[in-house]
């Protein structure tokens, strides 16, 4: 009787796509193994080591004296860890200001992207209007244009807005990211329309449907977008370099880090210490939201 008791899969199964990861639906056959681990590890472990090496070297460098950093062959283990490097960075540079500026810009950009991309994407996904397909196409086309191409026009706009040398120059042009609209539109289209129709009959307005039905069901996609946007904004160097000209109070971390590199000499131990401190939020974020990073990179297929 088992054939008739299984209810057909329906759309109100949990929509959370994370549940699908790793479920191949196949039964693993017991295999005789020569190794106590998967043979792939023989390939992956050295690869992981190669990926990790720069990070390890940076940590090591950040704990060395200036002389040790310039030694050849490189010293792979500092005798006495120079934690003072970190204090030097904080004391001798405006690290706190840079960190604060970057945090403010990143938080504003991520928040505005979540709100504005959601609104735009819902419109593209669900509301029929004249020229919807065309406008969507034009927006997507802008994704193909690299930042370097539009750098000067965008710079001129920001200048006209009087935002040069202000944090606003970093926030305003990035309030909406076309990639975010694209990603959310595609996600919203996969949500069952029946849920929204049921909500319409239940008396919900468009906005109410968006807030109470669509957004809660799209949390995985929104988290992915937030993570990607956080990463891009936090690490952005070119745009701040162009728009923050002289005002040191508006420097972001990436600009600040560059100041350690002089024309004639670079204080590698300080660069490394500052870099590590600037990476802490990213590392924390990665540990908290690792699966969204993975999905983000899988869905964007663009730069990482």
């Amino acid at each position: 009787m088992s054939s008739i008791t299984a209810p057909a899969p329906t759309l109100d199964e949990p929509i959370d796509l994370t549940h699908l990861e790793g479920e191949t639906g196949m039964v693993e056959r017991p295999r005789r193994r020569l190794l106590p681990f998967d043979p792939w590890h023989l390939f992956l472990a050295p690869l992981a080591f190669v990926m990790l090496l720069p990070l390890v070297w940076m940590v090591v460098t950040s704990l060395q004296t200036k002389a040790q950093t310039l030694h050849f062959p490189p010293i792979l283990w500092p005798g006495t860890p120079q934690f003072v490097n970190y204090l030097d960075v904080i004391r001798d540079s405006a690290f706190g200001t840079w960190f604060w500026n970057t945090t403010v810009v990143t938080v504003l950009v991520v928040a505005s992207n979540l709100v504005l991309c959601t609104l735009a994407a819902y419109g593209f996904a669900r509301i029929r209007f004249l020229g919807r397909g065309f406008i969507y196409f034009v927006l997507l086309a802008t994704l193909m244009v690299p930042l370097q191409v539009v750098l000067i026009p965008t710079f001129l706009i920001v200048k006209q807005l009087g935002l040069l040398d202000h944090l606003g120059a970093l926030v305003v042009p990035n309030l909406v990211n076309v990639f975010g609209i694209f990603m959310l539109t595609q996600f919203f289209r996969t949500l069952p329309i029946d849920l929204e129709e049921a909500a319409r009959i239940d008396g919900a307005s468009r906005l109410s449907i968006l807030l109470r039905i669509v957004v809660p069901l799209s949390l995985p996609a929104l988290a992915t977008l937030a993570v990607i946007q956080f990463l891009w904004t936090w690490n952005d160097f070119l745009w701040p370099l162009v728009t923050i000209l002289t005002n040191q109070d508006a420097f972001t971390l990436q600009l600040g880090l560059a100041t350690f590199q002089g024309a004639h000499q670079t204080q590698w131990h300080l660069v490394a210490a500052a870099n590590i401190m600037s990476m802490i939020p990213l590392i924390v974020l990665f540990l908290l939201a690792q699966r969204y990073f993975v999905r983000g990179i899988a869905t964007q297929g663009l730069k990482g």
């Binding site: 008739i4 008791t5 299984a6 209810p7 057909a8 329906t10 759309l11 109100d12 199964e13 949990p14 929509i15 069952p192 029946d194 849920l195 129709e197 049921a198 909500a199 319409r200 009959i201 239940d202 008396g203 919900a204 109410s208 109470r212 039905i213 809660p216 069901l217």
Partner: protein
């Protein structure tokens, strides 16, 4: 509660594809009406037009005498149960039930009272804290009904609500639905492609095909007196047998057998006989009887379906919506069975044997082969 009336309601999709053509139909206050037809016949479209989920291209739909063409779904005072239930997956059962009430700014005390009432009525008390993903198919179904009924709508719309359930549960829910309607008494329009559901549930059924209403009436009268060949084939399982015959001088002859008590204008006719309208008879039978070669026997437990070929009758007439046979040449060479007979299990013949069947009184319906419409047999 309210009546629903379709007045030449038409739905045209871009293409143009006419999904529903000039449907005129009145559903009385408190009635349980079934819209039935094969997939793509426009029945769901008709329901969604009542709900306000599809715009009405032409014509008018009124609820309680009030035209609703331009009224948004939320102001039509209807509730709908979707085929896949469309329960909000991120909300508990309680929140699913309360969602519609909250959207309508019902007072929290009233929300609690109404949710309590409906969950008691449908036996959902123990499920209130669960999410839809943690419920079985039947439980989801009940929650979906509860969510629709809790608002005490004027009209209750159901779009194939049982089709996601397994066969056993479907039969149980069918009976419960009928009881529920008797209890609540709300005007109900129910869409299904399953003619068994249609016959058992409805006070009246409306049969649709290709966007056109074929027949409306109480299930038994639609079954007994199909208005055309389509209804004859669609309502009833297995479908009504359709046999090619001719009428001359008012007498109707099929395979050289003259049928009793049937008259028709001269010319070719299609003779329709339900599978239970043919009964095995002895050689001394007086009146019309066919000799049938038994091709295939399907025992169903409580009855036996016998597929056979009537001697002297070539060709098979299939109802318009019938599937193409698996063996495509079965029809072409005339070897396909052209009649199905429903017998009690104890009268089961064996394949390859021969059977003489008589025609039960009043079992014969006549159709015009060119239009497919029923011909008055008296």
């Amino acid at each position: 509660m309210a009546s629903v009336s379709f007045d030449r309601a038409t739905k045209v999709y871009p293409g143009p594809v006419v999904a529903l053509r000039e449907l005129s139909l009145d559903v009385a206050d408190g009635e349980f009406l079934i819209l039935v037809g094969p997939s793509g016949c426009g029945k769901s479209t008709a329901l969604r037009m009542v709900a306000g989920l599809e715009r009405i291209s032409e014509g008018t739909i009124s609820i309680g005498g009030r035209p609703v063409n331009d009224i948004p779904p939320k102001d039509r005072d209807i509730a709908m149960v979707f085929q896949n239930y469309a329960l909000y997956p991120h909300m508990t059962v309680e929140k699913n039930l309360a969602f519609g009430l909250r959207q309508r700014k019902t007072k929290p005390d009233d929300v609690r009272r109404l949710v309590d009432e409906i969950s008691r009525m449908l036996g959902l008390e123990d499920l209130l804290r669960r999410r839809p993903g943690q419920l079985s198919g039947g439980q989801r179904q009940r929650v979906a009904m509860g969510r629709a009924l809790v608002r005490e709508p004027e009209v209750f719309l159901l779009d194939e609500p049982l089709s996601n359930l397994d066969a056993k549960l479907r039969v149980q829910m069918r009976a419960q639905l009928k009881r529920l309607h008797e209890h609540v008494g709300v005007t109900t329009i129910y869409v299904t492609h399953d003619q068994v559901e249609a016959i058992t549930l409805g006070e009246r059924i409306a049969v649709l095909s290709e966007g056109v209403l074929q027949q409306v009436g109480p299930p038994q009268s639609v079954y007994d007196h199909p208005a055309n060949v389509f209804v004859a084939g669609f309502i009833g399982s297995p479908p009504m047998n359709l046999l090619e015959g001719t009428a001359s001088d008012g007498r109707v002859v099929v395979a050289e057998v003259e049928l009793d008590r049937v008259r028709a204008p001269d010319g070719p006719v299609l003779v329709g006989i339900r599978p239970e309208g043919l009964r095995p008879v002895g050689g001394d039978h007086v009146g019309a009887a066919f000799d049938v070669g038994v091709d295939l026997v399907e025992p169903l437990g409580d009855e036996v379906l016998v597929h056979g070929s009537i001697d002297g009758l070539d060709g098979v007439v299939r109802p318009p919506d019938a599937e193409t046979p698996l063996l495509a040449d079965a029809d072409a060479d005339g070897a396909g069975s052209n009649v199905t007979i429903r017998l009690p299990p104890e009268e089961r013949p064996s394949a390859g044997s021969r059977l003489r069947v008589g025609v039960a009184p009043n079992a014969v319906r006549l159709f015009d082969p060119s239009t497919g419409r029923a011909i008055e047999t008296t």
